[in-house]
Symmetry: C2
Subunit: 618 residues, 2 copies
């Protein structure tokens, strides 16, 4: 048995007009929507026409919301509120939806007395019942008197009407550290609706937190699986419905957002199925373990290709293979493999170089691909020549191709003919440590969930640094064994005309066990190492009690050094190659588990200087 | 006597590399800078070279900052911190700066005992004194043990060293509702440094508030004049130095930000001079009263000009004048005057129409212009023919020209030759109510201060609405008599590829005393009125107890209706004319003082639909 829940999304989650939102929700495979009242008010369709439009798209209307500030200490105002409710019941009848969300009041005239509140809700429930409708009552976390789910349940229980039940919203409960264990006291039939939202843990006014920073499940810090498990345990069998207010999603392509939203519910469903096999919930194929990097592919063109090839040689790489049928070169050093691919279609300017594909070693590539597809990752066609490996490829949110591979005699390297060169005299690189990918502004949270859900990599803490041209956030995703690490970064604000670093460069970080020796070898080979200011080393000297020999090497070679609770990190960057990629050489000391992000502002300023110099030279 | 304070700016206020920041600060006329340590660390210059560079630019270095977490309960760590301090003293000696900012510690090992803290600060002060340097100690609002200015003063007083004094930062004091009246207990010579920042009143973690949302004086909600008056009363004679951490400024053109910053100090200085004439502070010429709109100019081209002219006729305007020497038409209705100007140089596409200039009636146009210049508004050249009025023109942050005018026989209308048409049969327009200007993302706060400082218009509360393609903020500026109102709006996030409304349209709101009659006349004249959804009127009917005749008119003509504590508002929009301007007709009821922003989402969705339809028709 493999059950699928009904999946809904509130129209407020998506950008655009209601017309745009319906198409996006249907396109992503949602079963239903919550109609957010302002979306309907601004729409050109009558409620009946909207119902028809939804039916055409295969969407049910599961909830009408919100109805605010129903109760009142002022009898006349309560009467006006009931009149307003009646008008909305008229709208619901035309829409064909039977449940309305009523939020706890935030008004100065909200009723504080539990008995009086129950009386007023009983009146409203009775009117709803007479029309065959239901009221789902929800405690807003900032409600004037009812601000916890327990308090909303007390009212619903006191009214004891079949037309009045609860709406549980994960944000309102978890933002106030409410305990879902208490849901066990609620009979499933009194739970009328379930709204889901995740959020980062922020210390701010809860209303602002809710209105601006909600996320889809799996993108934030809340325990959504635990929350939903407690809800399902009551016997709730209604829709799982997303209600996410997020400043970025409000202005992003709703088609993409809806897919991201659907992925979040599938991720959540899998987490529940794993935690409770008796739930019978369907789940995608499990994520096969990833054991490391098979390659990093750089897309190049006729100008940047030869440039990068000559730089790779100074970085200790050897050109070991040539693809059988495509203009792709294989370069190797230690376990690190870099592909230079001149066959990637890009509409960009001449001389570009960018990370275009990541080869990840999977225990079962075809299962990895099947899982990716089940989690709505776009599966890409891959032209394949005779006797070439079938590489399962999906697209990450930033367009980077992810290839699930098996390296070995029968795997993808067989597609390459040996050149005869061997990678013996490197600079000490042992493999790929991580790849740093600058994300498009709209897809930072989407990317964290993509890598978590599709690849099984866990998102780490978000770090924010003040870079020369604006704040930059970095969030890594990695597996428990740290065999695959990606550092995702994004500008805190979408960049405008002033910032010269658009897009900020991506990078490939190569591991070494002795960065000083690697730096000496790189310098000897004429590698284009990034020059760092003396002030940086002076500051390190002031802050840390570094070994004098190490400090001298830092000064000589432009190394960077960081410490945190996990350990210490030595790293070294090249100048930007082509237009948007550079290489780092990194050494992790004493179990360091970070990504050198605190040094990013110094590195970015140095890159900017080097580029300004290049432009001046041209 | 008219004294000028020394004016400084912390490099952290400005975007770019340190090289960019120095040029911006010097260009805006600052006397000095605070060197923010991370900017120096990332810079290519040695401290000595930086000092030379600053001297070349006419900038002094007034402060080195910040030095964090000096004190420690761990003796060994305190020794390391002193070593770090010594190294920074070396840097300061090279820079030629004598004062370092030491922040109260936020570290888990921060010293809680006042006596022990004083002992450790005494040691540090003694080292500073030996080198001829000074420590300015500042209470961070989130300091572990010292988080109020009073607490920092207790420590400084206890140490009683000539090398230890206070740094007062308006954010840290005012964010915690500290009382500047207490500064009276501090001798001026113990006040080593003054840092200034404004901020909006937000309910959030004070560290996040400080790091992301500070503003320049006059842009936020703090009483900066009162704060500085209390500081000056101690005898403080050091620099007025800005330290503003702001996400938007961090990524904006630093040249513009520096001018905005300088304007904020001049505004502040004037407020102080006004409050305390005995201070002897210099002040710009006072703002002459503005008494209303003389005209609104729309820039048009050969395609949009004739289109707008024909639309203006349906809106009840008459073409009453033609400029003597330029392709500018004067259109009039009641006291409202609209210029169609085909001589504005714009690099845009064909068919554009935009608000390009605002004529404001000044009691003394040349004094208005002199004040604008003193407050660093860009004064624009204006080509003038023989016998034409000399119009003093400055550019607002969004590029809109502001003309200070006197309307009358000897004023600007004399530049227009009468066409013979008269504006008798209008649609009831009495004048211009307000103009709505969408601001560039980077200049929303700059604009509020510009209109406040240069024109003497007071910024009102910021309203945020969820529009179809992202959040939009609106903040009006107006004089006490409400004779000039501007509604400034901006997207909460810089718009990306999805949003079709880039740029959102501007509008001219025309006043009427009877919007229903005006709507009837507009419809009869064939005006391109914006169609609103029936759902909107249904929702009004549910929410308000409207007169049935009014509700019928709302339905018939697509009127919009709002209520707030100040009164009620009826308004009506045209479709977008050209590419980015529309006209509203508005009636203020019962003293309504707002701008109809709550209706903006419905209006925007309707505009989007009308435009999509236009595109489909083409």
């Amino acid at each position: 048995m493999s059950a699928e829940p009904r999946r809904s999304i509130a129209t407020v989650c998506l950008s655009g007009t209601l017309e745009d939102k319906l198409i996006a929700a249907a396109g992503a495979g949602f079963d239903g929507i919550e109609v957010f009242e302002p979306d309907l008010v601004a729409a050109p369709w009558s409620p009946r026409e909207l119902a028809e439009r939804c039916a055409d798209l295969g969407l049910s209307i599961d909830l009408y919301q919100p109805f605010r500030d129903l109760d009142s200490t002022d009898a006349e105002r309560f009467a006006r509120n009931l009149r307003r409710l009646d008008r909305k019941f008229d709208v619901m009848a035309e829409l064909g939806v039977d449940t309305v969300l009523v939020c706890s009041s935030v008004s100065p005239d909200a009723v504080g007395s539990p008995d009086r509140l129950a009386e007023q809700l009983a009146v409203a429930a009775s009117r709803a019942g007479e029309r065959g409708l239901r009221i789902a009552y929800e405690a807003l976390a900032w409600g004037a008197h009812v601000s916890t789910w327990d308090a909303s349940w007390d009212v619903v229980r006191a009214v004891d009407s079949p037309a009045l039940g609860l709406c549980l919203d994960s944000f309102h409960v978890l933002s106030r550290a409410g305990d879902p264990a208490g849901f066990a006291a609620v009979p499933g039939e009194k739970l009328f609706f379930l709204q889901l939202a995740d959020a980062p843990q922020l210390h701010m006014d809860v209303l602002q937190w809710s209105r601006h920073h909600r996320l889809f499940p799996g993108q934030g810090a809340f325990d959504l699986p635990g929350f939903v498990a407690a809800v399902l345990a009551t016997g709730y069998a209604g829709p799982w419905s997303l209600e996410v207010f997020n400043d970025v999603f409000r202005q992003s392509d709703p088609g993409r957002t809806a897919v991201d939203a659907m992925r979040s519910l599938r991720w959540l469903q899998e987490a529940l199925a794993a935690g409770s096999p008796s739930s019978g919930l369907a789940a995608p194929p499990p994520a096969p373990p990833l054991s490391g990097w098979s390659f990093v592919e750089l897309g190049v063109d006729g100008i940047s290709g030869p440039q990068l090839a000559s730089v790779l040689r100074t970085l200790g790489f050897a050109h070991t293979g040539q693809h059988r049928s495509k203009p792709v070169q294989l370069w190797e050093q230690g376990a690190a493999r870099v592909l230079l691919n001149d066959a990637v279609v890009r509409p960009a300017a001449a001389g570009v170089a960018a990370v275009t594909a990541l080869g990840l070693e999977s225990a079962d590539p075809s299962l990895s691909a099947a899982r990716a597809e089940a989690l709505k990752a776009p599966v890409l066609p891959r032209t394949r020549g005779a006797a070439e490996a079938d590489l399962s490829t999906v697209a990450a949110p930033d367009g980077t191709q992810i290839l699930f591979t098996r390296t070995g005699p029968d795997g993808w390297p067989a597609d390459f003919l040996a050149t005869g060169e061997t990678a013996e005299d490197g600079v000490g690189v042992t493999g790929v440590d991580h790849v740093g990918l600058t994300q498009p502004f709209d897809s930072f949270d989407e990317a964290a969930l993509f890598y978590r859900a599709v690849l099984g990599l866990e998102p780490q803490t978000t770090t924010e640094v003040a870079a020369p041209f604006g704040l930059v956030r970095t969030r890594a995703v990695t597996d428990a064994a740290r065999s695959v690490r990606l550092a995702l970064s994004v500008s805190a604000l979408r960049r405008g005309g002033w910032s010269p670093g658009v897009p900020e460069p991506q990078y490939v970080a190569l591991a070494t066990d002795d960065l000083v020796a690697t730096a000496v070898a790189l310098r000897a080979a004429g590698a284009p190492l990034l020059a760092l200011p003396e002030n940086y080393a002076d500051d390190l000297d002031a802050r840390f009690d570094l070994d004098p020999a190490l400090l001298a090497a830092i000064r000589e070679h432009g190394l960077m050094y960081e410490e945190d609770a996990s350990g210490a990190y030595l790293h070294l960057a090249t100048e930007v190659l082509g237009d948007r990629v550079f290489v780092e050489f990194v050494q992790r000391l004493r179990g360091y588990d970070g990504y050198g992000t605190l040094d990013a502002p110094v590195r970015m300023a140095a890159h900017r200087r080097a580029r300004t110099r290049d432009l001046a030279v041209r």
